[in-house]
Symmetry: C2
Subunit: 221 residues, 2 copies
Amino acid sequence: MKTVLIKEDILSRNNERAKDVRALTKTKNVFYVNVMSSPGAGKTTLLKKLIPLLSEYRIGVIEADIDSEKDALDVERATGVRTIQMHTGGACHITCQMSMEALEALGLDGLDVVFLENIGNLVCPAEFDTGANMNLVLTSVPEGDDKPLKYPLMFEVASAVAVTKTDVCPVFDFDREKAVANIRKRNAGADLFFVCAKTGEGIPELAEYLKKRIASEVGHE
Amino acid sequence: MKTVLIKEDILSRNNERAKDVRALTKTKNVFYVNVMSSPGAGKTTLLKKLIPLLSEYRIGVIEADIDSEKDALDVERATGVRTIQMHTGGACHITCQMSMEALEALGLDGLDVVFLENIGNLVCPAEFDTGANMNLVLTSVPEGDDKPLKYPLMFEVASAVAVTKTDVCPVFDFDREKAVANIRKRNAGADLFFVCAKTGEGIPELAEYLKKRIASEVGHE
């Protein structure tokens, strides 16, 4: 029981801190996107394909990992945008305190949009509000169409869900309709996309969707 | 700082409890395997293929999930072995307390081997000793060959690592040698397997390996 109370306390303090992050990004007129998924669902690869379609914005990327600089180097090399690697020292999610420190380390001056690539984990990151304007949740075809049934909160907190690696749907007997139905069980309102970094499917549509949200929430056109 | 201390306290209490689990399984002469991986790496599918190759043992399975009964129903239907579904109420890993309760709920009388399918999570479950005789860690080809670089602890605590879904190596440009080198950076001694539930690759070898461990650790032939 004690553990639960500690956790509730941590979560309530985290949510308090989220207000500070939102105040900061609002002052700086920055649209902040928290990207979450299982390990290897394609967060880094999607960002590399998506960022060039958002060339009208000045973009920054925060890569969070337990270890290695691989993702930050990949994104920086592929897109040329301002990127920092953040190490969590073993932690399985990004708290709002970490989110704030990462935004400060990245520096928001001269940026319109910031993507946070969260730790690859379909459980814990969903519990911690990072103060972002939206949560973009990825779920990959090889993981199977049943993930929303088994990891409910991640899908509940999603503003948008992108099913990735759609080119391998036939290989994995992945049923798109079943996937949509399972996501809808957890979240009736999330915007849904089917994307593939290899074939390019759905990436322009996801970019257009982000542009609309950016325009309506921080006024960048 | 406080959070870290709480965590250390939780972990040290967990490790104390692991001794009780090991005492229980030793008394009951049961070999207990903790199976861990990312969501959708193929834990359930592998168990369904592996269990029929271990037909000389009386097997039990504990399926841990945040929600849904899907995996327990799948395994029970496919293998006919004693299976229970355990819900963690949102928790992202199995503590030793949960492990003990699940073993008691399953009942060890008349069993030789128990598999625990942990929550799909490449981070947190690695921190919590479940009291198992061994940790079998799966990492799937679609996740990419770099996972040991980014999720170090999971590979460090592995007794054996099985790379799953090897039939799609060409589709995902997965480099087996690089994967082995990355696993070896984290763990020089783990036994390594390449397996595929669809083609059957590596599953007999994994079954033979388990038989040897079962024979040497609990004396079942």
